[in-house]
């Protein structure tokens, strides 16, 4: 265990000497896909709840399909499936994008978490207390003011407990990146296993790192919930 940490500790955390690797890559995957997924999910959740039926239907179809199929298969379609199409291979910009495993993993993770986040946010929007909306209208707010000052902030706050679970799931889902040759924590563990045959130690270190990350995320979200949802404890 100690020898592995001495020899490969930096690879697990930081860099393999040439490229970023391990924990830093996993964090990068988590942050980029969560940020892209959340920023796309906010407008889509509003359209799904308050938009016309013709706009809401394709969004519902999208969340149904992406929540009903495994992320691994989605990644295979994006990483190996698209790359096998001549349409992609012949366009230089598309080929530049889909040739890189990192791009494909981030795209797959973002599309996947976006689908789950839309459902979380839409569920929260449906339970917005009627009194809040009535009060806003009574104050003479316009429709856009109602959205900007009441519905969207309320949605983001109340979605926090469910969204923190979703972020943990995205962290767990990033482990799939190693199948697309992205050097995340699990890829380093597989490499260490191949180099030393110390299977339990190699994957055990990876498991420990993921556990610490998950605990840190839970701590951050607990803190955020205490501050942003403080009004719920007043009663």
């Amino acid at each position: 265990m100690i020898e592995i940490l001495k020899e490969f500790g930096l690879n697990f955390l930081w860099s393999d000497g040439y490229h970023w690797s391990g924990l830093s890559v996993t964090l990068w995957l988590l942050v980029t896909s969560a940020v892209i997924g959340l920023s796309a999910a906010i407008p889509l959740a509003l359209i799904r709840t308050y938009g016309s039926q013709w706009l809401a239907l394709p969004i519902r179809l999208y969340t149904l399909v992406f929540r009903g199929t495994p992320l691994f298969v989605q990644l295979l379609i994006i990483y190996s499936g698209l790359a096998s199409l001549s349409l992609i291979r012949e366009s230089s910009s598309l080929w530049w994008f889909f040739r890189d495993g990192m791009h494909c993993v981030i795209l797959a993770l973002a599309l996947n978490t976006c689908a789950y986040t839309i459902e979380i946010l839409a569920g929260v929007l449906r339970t917005t207390p009627r009194g809040e909306i009535e009060a806003a209208l009574a104050l003479g707010m316009t429709r856009s003011q109602l959205f900007i000052h009441v519905l969207i902030p309320g949605m983001l706050r109340r979605a926090l407990p469910a969204y923190s679970n979703e972020v943990i799931f995205v962290l767990h889902a990033t482990a799939i990146a190693f199948t697309a040759t992205v050097p995340d924590i699990l890829k380093i563990a597989a490499d260490v296993n191949a180099a030393t045959f110390k299977t339990f130690q190699a994957y055990g270190i990876a498991a420990l790192l993921y556990m610490l990350l998950a605990c840190a995320l839970v701590g951050v979200f607990r803190f955020a919930e205490r501050r942003l949802l403080a009004y719920q404890r007043l009663s």
Binding site: V65, R67, G68, T69, P70, L71, F72, V73, Q74, L76, I77, S80, G81, L82, A83, S84, L85, L171, H172, A173, T174, A175, I176, T179, L186, A189, A190, N193, T199, F200, Y203, G204, A206, A207, Y210, M211, A214, C215
Partner: protein
């Protein structure tokens, strides 16, 4: 030819995925019940073991645990056999995959069952004891049947996640439908087509599961519905 001649192999792979997922769900439910009872037991060591199990397993990605347990199981078995001077034997890969998946999702089930046990109104347990039921009778006649109703939606969600995770067993080298689709795609250079086919199969499984779960939930709903007569 149907699916370029790979239709039969993909069907076999899909059947294997369903079998692995179903058996893993059975293991997970059994482990989950034991875990929940241990978490609610008056004995502190049992509570500690169950808490460590659910916390550790739920904080690590399922894929990492699958690789960790699946590959370490054989090595561990060999070492134990050596320590006792016995001949070691090769583990069945499917059995090991089922055990691994069951062990992981058992931790999620344990949390669901614990919540469901705690959702039973306390007055009912007091009433049962007042009638002179033994501890075991209360568990079998009052707590267990009611707990299952409360747990059903949560267990349904876990089943959906488990079914999708079963697609990962191809990474352990098992010949499930993802593996077959990979081979078929590489052989025919039509990767996109075969991946879309298995995505459609997974999607069909998910839709059927959710319909079946809705039916079960209606049947075992906590509020008894009046029968139309």
């Amino acid at each position: 030819m149907f699916l370029e001649g790979y239709g039969h192999l993909i069907f076999q792979g899909a059947w294997l995925t369903v079998q692995v997922a179903t058996w893993a769900a059975c293991v997970a439910i059994a482990l989950g019940l034991l875990g929940a009872l241990a978490k609610l037991s008056p004995l502190a060591p049992l509570r500690l073991v169950a808490t460590v199990y659910t916390t550790l397993v739920r904080s690590v990605p399922d894929l990492v645990l699958m690789l960790l347990i699946y590959y370490s199981a054989q090595i561990g078995l060999n070492q134990v056999a050596e320590a006792f001077g016995q001949e070691s034997f090769p583990l069945n890969p499917y059995g090991t995959a089922i055990g691994t998946l069951g062990f992981i999702y058992g931790a999620y089930c344990a949390e669901t069952f614990r919540g469901a046990f705690q959702a039973i109104p306390f007055g009912q347990l007091e009433a049962a004891r007042a009638y002179g039921m033994s501890h075991w009778q209360v568990l079998r006649r009052i707590r267990f049947p009611q707990m299952m109703r409360f747990a059903l939606p949560g267990i349904g969600n876990i089943w959906q996640v488990l079914l999708k995770s079963a697609g990962l067993i191809s990474l352990l080298g098992l010949n499930d439908m993802v593996q077959v689709a990979k081979q078929a795609g590489n052989a025919t250079s039509r990767q996109m087509f075969f991946y879309l086919v298995i995505a459609a199969i997974f999607f069909t499984f998910a839709i059927f599961s959710s319909l079946a779960l809705k039916h079960l939930e209606r049947r075992y709903s906590v509020e008894p519905q009046r029968r139309a007569s």
